[in-house]
Amino acid sequence: MSKIASAFSPPGHKALIAYVTVGYPSVEATLKVVPLLADSGADIVELGIPFSDPLADGVTIQKSSFHALQNGVTPRLCLELAGQLSQKVNIPLVFMTYYNPVFSYGLDKFCSACAGSGISGIIIPDLPPDEGSDLEAISQRQGLDLIYLLAPTSTGERIRLAAQRSRGFIYLVSVTGVTGARDRVPADLEAFVTRVRNTTAQPLCVGFGISTPEQASRIARIADGVIVGSRIIQLMEKEDDFASLAELVRSLRGSIDKISGQ
């Protein structure tokens, strides 16, 4: 079983996936928060490598990325921090970033550095399977899962494409839109998840716009995992001890576990 697959076990266990931008609000904060997320019930942490032009992100993650870049965060530093964090926590860590920083680093060099830093997978929102063959081949050689995304606009053909090519899980974008906390879960989400479910047995994790335990429990009813990002970044803005962040993650965990009956 790959390390990411273990996040969905035993069968029926619903995964909680947390996103942080590396180096936001500071490098020290990242080193402190990732273990806290793991302790509070996250099954996977996505480490965001900041990019100057995050066109799939809403204002919250745009701001955190900009801030992190101002702090001097580079892909190299993210890899170093991932190396330290993978020693401290037992859960899989995956990178989330855009294609250019990875391409610029060199696909081979990046993937082997990821493997060396204990990274389990990569999510790249501007790399559809149509453009991903090179990175797919290289990441597989390094034992990394390249996780593809699907969106409510995805056709049956594109769902089959992602189902065939994604590794670890499939990231379902809940809405047509950018990242960012939203008031409600879209009404047609269930139909979208069902469409994908009918095509593949891969774990399906839903992200974009999910911020509350109520929303998380609605997602957990229909999917295998819940991804929370912008809300976590918002809470990190405000305080140093991350007490309300830990509380949020524990309550997300609780609401998800109620669904899976654990």
Partner: protein, 394 residues
């Protein structure tokens, strides 16, 4: 035939966009393929190009400019005389007709100098479509006249506050809008972005080169020795180059913005000083840091102030079919003044880069040689910037 079916010109191009947009790009590519094969679509495009945009634009022998340089004859392709004052109307009209054909009612566009925004606003007004234009806050400030023109034609101009607040950030924001509203039509203004934009914009702009070819043959009985055009994203350059790609005796020269000088790092010349990367959905030369972050750019002309370039230009550079040079802000201002004084034509700051380079080249060439410069736009929009640069208070 380039691009290939995946939208690649050699190693450059592609579709590096969020999944949400992949089906949308498929729909666009299919609709464009159908329109491209439809004679009725082109006859409407041609009729409106004539009656609305004022095509064909003249090819003009700039005699006093030529005399002043004392060498090769310089012809100007007068895109500055097209409706709305620049070549941008060609693409806006073509895509506007395509959007209407696809049944789209809401149009979004990005703009740098404002010329594409104005062209998009005009076409939307004409076709009765809703128009929203994203424009970097910095560009809103330095091109306020164009902002007013867009608003007069009923467009909503949305200033973009992120990043460097210029064209690159306006495109980011337009793409975010598009991801959020996939039923919207994105009227992209240059030969950049994911496939099929580079080919679609090229097709609509290639009218420039088609006309030029006929006009120069009529006027001089042979093809030109040099064609010179400025390159930001590269749509006016591709537009005039395209009809001459197979005429190996015609030298194609693209002029990028060297800003304060290539050595200062403050420029907008990805073909001259960039490396291969992925920006705004396409693989091409890009100005980036060693960590793959897109660099901030500088040019006196907002329309060239962009860190990327169309993938076909990257291909033409590598293949050697076109050559690229760069001209500084100061040199562009000299080109600007030279054309004003010798010909009574006020060019936009973008083609002023091409004028400077053409004038420089002309003086070192024999009188029998001919140069065509694509005068891609007029300079009314740039009065404030030029006055400021020349230390004049208006």
């Amino acid at each position: 035939m380039l691009p290939d079916e995946r939208g690649y010109f050699g190693d450059y191009g592609g579709q590096f966009v969020p999944e949400t947009l992949m089906p949308v790009l498929d729909e666009l590519a299919t609709a464009y393929k159908e329109a491209r094969a439809d004679k009725a679509f082109w006859s409407e495009f041609e009729a409106l190009s004539r009656d609305y945009s004022g095509r064909p634009t003249p090819l003009y022998l700039a005699e006093r400019l030529t005399e002043n340089c004392g060498g090769a004859r310089i012809f100007l392709k007068r895109e500055d005389l097209a409706h709305t004052g620049a070549h941008k109307i060609n693409n806006a009209l073509g895509q506007g007709l395509l959007a209407r054909r696809m049944g789209k009612r809401r149009i979004i566009a990005e703009t740098g100098a404002g010329q594409h925004g104005v062209a998009a606003a005009a076409v939307c007004a004409k076709l009765g479509l809703e128009c929203i234009v994203y424009m970097g806050e910095e560009d809103v400030r330095r091109q306020s006249l164009n902002v007013f023109r867009m608003r007069l034609m009923g467009a909503e101009v949305r200033p973009v506050h992120g990043g460097s607040r210029t064209l690159k950030d306006a495109i980011n924001e337009a793409i975010r809008d598009w991801v959020t509203n996939p039923d919207t039509y994105y009227l992209l203004g240059s030969v950049v972005g994911p496939s099929p934009y580079p080919v679609m914009v090229r097709d609509f702009q290639s009218v420039i080169g088609k006309e030029t070819r006929q006009q120069i043959l009529d006027k001089s009985g042979r093809l030109p020795d040099y064609i010179i055009a400025c390159v930001g994203g590269g749509s006016n350059a591709i537009g005039i180059f395209y009809s001459f790609l197979n005429d190996k005796e015609v030298n194609l020269i693209g002029v990028e913005a060297a800003g304060r000088g290539l050595s200062t790092g403050e420029h907008a010349a990805p073909l001259m000083a960039g490396t291969v990367g992925v920006l705004h959905g396409t693989k091409s030369y890009v100005l980036q840091t060693k960590d793959g972050q897109i660099r901030e750019t500088h040019s006196i002309s907002a329309g060239l102030d962009y860190p990327g370039v169309g993938p076909e230009h990257s291909y033409l550079k590598d293949s050697g079919r076109a050559t690229y040079v760069a001209v500084t802000d100061q040199e562009a201002l000299e080109g600007f003044k030279l054309l004003c004084k010798t010909e009574g034509i006020v060019p936009a700051l973008e083609p002023a880069h091409a004028i400077f380079h053409a004038a420089k080249m002309a003086s070192s060439l024999e009188k029998e040689k001919t140069i065509v410069v694509n005068l891609s736009g007029r300079g009314d929009k740039d009065m404030d910037i030029v006055a400021q640069a020349l230390g004049v208070k208006l």
